[in-house]
Amino acid sequence: MKHVRLLVLTENLPQASLALAETESFHPDTRPPTETQLAGLPGREYREVFIQAKSRLDKIVRHIPLDPVAEIAPIRVIDAEELIQLNDWLGPLWDETSGYEEDFRLLDDEERLVKEQQAALANFAELNIDLGMLQTKTRFLDIHIGLVPRENLRQLEGAVGLAHHILHVYMQQDDNAHVVIVGPKGDKESTLTTVLSAAGFQRLPIPQGLDRPPAELQRELAARLNGIEEQRRTLEETLVRWSAPQRPKLIEARHTLLLAEPLVELDASLRSAGHLAHLAGWVPARAVERLKQRLSKTLDQPFDLTLRDPLPEERPLVPTVASKNRLLIPFAMLVDQYGIPSYGEVDPTPLFAITFLLMFGSMFGDLGQGAVIAGAAFLARRKLGRFWLFGLLAGFASMGFGLVYGSVFGYEHVLPALWMSPLSDPLLMLSIALVWGVIFITTACLLAIYNRLVIRNWSGALFGHHGVVNLIFYLALVAGGLEVARGGGIGIHTVVLVAGSLAALAWHSWRHQDGGLGEKILVVFIETLETVIGYVSNTLSFLRVAAFSLNHVALSIAVFTLADMMGAFGHVVTVILGNLFVLVLEGGIVMIQVMRLQYYEGFSRYFSGDGHAFKPLRFRRGFS
């Protein structure tokens, strides 16, 4: 990765932004330049106009949908004047469109009100008052009928009482209460209007002729609903007719904004002094030449492009380019859940992919069930997106180990094993798992040492967690354990290495402790003990790889034992259901266990994951 500093004339900034977006290799660096004279913010006004115009366009296309962007062509410079004109055109257009939006909402409100009336109609009969009075203005009585949000009801009741009115709830539906408010006419009436308004009171129009048969009234309300539906259709047709001539202009507006966006995206890293503009960023080394050529071709005024390697203190700021290998992409997504590799750090994705497949396959080795996983991933590839390859490869791994173990849908004797069934020699399986654990942890420690050496953290590489001294201790401990397992005693060399490395770790820890003598002794003792216990328990943790391969066979045996207790049909059903059970339950657990081994025993040793992804400036294919 190279750090790039580009000096251009301010008038050339839009062209420069287009050239950078076209190459898709420039990740902006938002740090201000060291030169204090470069304090101007040349893109700020452009950005403000762009944001408003884009917001307006986004809102308009909610009502006037546009076809997706097929291609951003022709590429041309969008100057501030053009952007302002576009924004000025979009403003009134949004005003008109929002008028339609409001009309639709009014129809929705009206529809809701009619439905409330339909529901309330039956309840009017429950009111113990003369219904005819509800429609006629009386000399002495002030009557309000309507809806009020339930949450405001109690407070409104008190306020109405203070205005010498009474509130009667005759129905409650959803979030609203249907109420009748009655009181004497007079000064308090105007006060009550304000209170009702504050309480979100919605007046409910009383249908004419309440003394008519209910069925007739319901028909009238249904007709009103039909009328509203008709109005809605008419409004939709009007909107379509009105928007037809606007559509080409809106497509052009979207194109303009897509071309203007790169300059807006650069805003945070743009600085200027007079006619000189400065921008900085990160470019992959292999893309530098192409970038230079593109700028030379695009800019009609002189420019200056300076390149340098990242400084050691800039390492946390340098973005990391994600793996582009199609097969590795789903694994990279899982690695990203833990963190993004920082610049210079070993990308764990390839190692993660290989070890994941090895462990998943060995723990869930079954030709038939693996084929089901692979088949399911293939069938659901549209839904799973790029993740479907993960399922396919996991299925293939399971199938491969199924052949090795001679297992197909739990049947252990149908297919001849290329090696053996795990249950044939459990102790051998456990031993292999332990050896695998030692190899895995050693590799993780080596990667941790390498990652520290790259950033010249010599002390960390030597004494840090999982550094050289830790590795010496671990390998000596493994050697000692091996000697004991073979029936011999622990050799003097092993003892010296274990004790020496532990002493070195304790000394290193002692030097970095603050606090009193007692506290230092306690902390160093606990840390040293934790090192010993940690490596032993972490290695034993890999026994689960063998344990699950054994568990898989054991579960299959359990399924077949149950199946054998059934008749022929019951046998088939039990085998199918049992396989489904094993697939879902054990498959899920194995997946979690492998991820746990990867994250905890692997990544936590050598992978900081505190990097950030390379996000180059590029043209978007459309707005949300």
Binding site: E48, I51, Q52, S55, R56, G91, W94, D95, S98, E102, R105, P149, E151, N152, R154, Q155, L156, G158, A159, V160, G161, L162, A163, K188, T191, L192, T194, V195, S197, A198, A199, G200, Q202
Partner: protein, 353 residues
């Protein structure tokens, strides 16, 4: 696990943070401190930045103090359960509502986008409203419609209905405030009895203060009717309950209302002649109650919220002094402002400035 053990971490955390509260004599010291001393003591570097205008410096200081408060809030909610966290976030959301009010006023009076943006607080993700989307709205109605589509739909719907009918900011803002306090009162009902007693007292004391001051202002400053005034009030679960407010709001003058207050408010308010007097006494009473809860409450959540309330008042006092210094006010005026400190008012004043 017992309640004590369950909240041991939170209680310890609150106790440690409580040492940050200003000692009683600091208020007097603050008034005497010049700007450089204030900047040095409280790390307010923005104060000494001569390149910016007074308003910009004041704004930067206010923003940094609010950010500090919000950071502490986020630290405190980490070990909390969902309902506890919800209560503290609901309390902190007042700053998001200040932003909403700024946006409403800005859109209503068609202020410049930059002026509106400069007056918005930068808030943590968990508290802020979708400010960017709201900022892009062309008018108040569109903004409230957008807010209605999110988690604040209840408050937004009510505010929109009020706005559609009245088209003026007072009713709209009163509705927003009413919903804010009603939400706090509603949330404490979900707690178990062990926590609820302390929380009722804490939120109750806050609602007592708000209800009394709003009642006096609405009735005697804005000349609203008893009915209109009562509707805007949020009853307290402690002293100024719904029934008491119904009686009080109908009384015709300040003296009658103060005489009719329940114990111990009537004694606290004895001899008050103006609403400013009431505000000062009420503030002292509230602070005393909150300090008691911070020291004695068995509920970790109540203690955490009590700490935040006190911390907020401290930071607003500090801001009042800074603002007084920046605007060149004499010490006696700044002292007067300190005595009246009420976070609602202080921040509102900040927004106006």
């Amino acid at each position: 696990m017992s309640d004590v053990a369950d909240q041991a971490y939170l209680n310890t955390r609150v106790s440690v943070m409580a040492t940050r509260l200003f000692p009683p004599d600091l208020a007097e010291q603050l008034i005497q401190m010049p700007l450089p001393a204030l900047a040095e003591r409280f790390g307010l570097t923005a104060l000494l930045d001569e390149q910016h205008t007074t308003a910009a410096r004041s704004r930067a200081v206010e923003q940094s103090l609010i950010w500090l408060l919000m950071t502490e809030l986020q630290i405190l909610i980490r070990p909390m359960k969902s309902a506890e966290r919800g209560l503290l976030l609901a309390w902190g959301r007042k700053y998001a509502l200040f932003n909403l009010k700024t946006l409403i006023r800005g859109k209503l009076y068609e202020l410049d986008q930059k002026d509106i943006g400069d007056n918005l607080y930068d808030l943590p993700e968990s508290i802020r409203l979708p400010d960017r989307a709201l900022f892009g709205a062309e008018n108040v109605l569109e903004m409230l419609r957008q807010l209605e589509a999110g988690p604040h739909h209840r408050i937004a719907r009510q505010a929109r209905e009020v706005y559609e009918q009245q088209r003026e900011p007072f009713a709209l803002e009163a509705t927003v405030d009413q919903h804010y306090f009603a939400d706090l009162a509603h949330r404490i009902l979900t707690f178990d009895s062990h926590q609820q007693a302390s929380l009722r007292r804490l939120i109750g004391v806050e609602l007592d203060r708000t209800a009394l001051l709003w009642m006096l202002r609405f009735r005697f400053s804005y000349q609203l009717s008893p009915s209109e005034t009562f509707y805007q009030l949020v009853p307290s679960p402690r002293l100024l309950t719904r029934e008491r407010l119904l009686n009080l709001v109908n009384l015709e003058n300040l003296e009658r209302i103060l005489e009719s207050l329940p114990e111990p408010l009537n004694q606290t308010m004895a001899d008050c002649r103006t609403i400013a007097d009431v505000q000062r006494r009420m503030e002292l009473h509230t602070q005393r109650e909150i300090r008691w809860l911070l020291a004695r409450s068995p509920s970790g959540v109540a203690r955490a919220l009590a700490y935040l309330m006190l911390r907020e008042a401290d930071l607003m006092r500090l801001f009042a002094v800074v603002q007084g210094r920046l605007l060149g006010f004499p010490n006696d005026r700044v002292e007067m402002a300190l005595n009246l400190i009420d976070p609602e008012c202080a921040t509102g004043a900040g927004q106006a400035a």
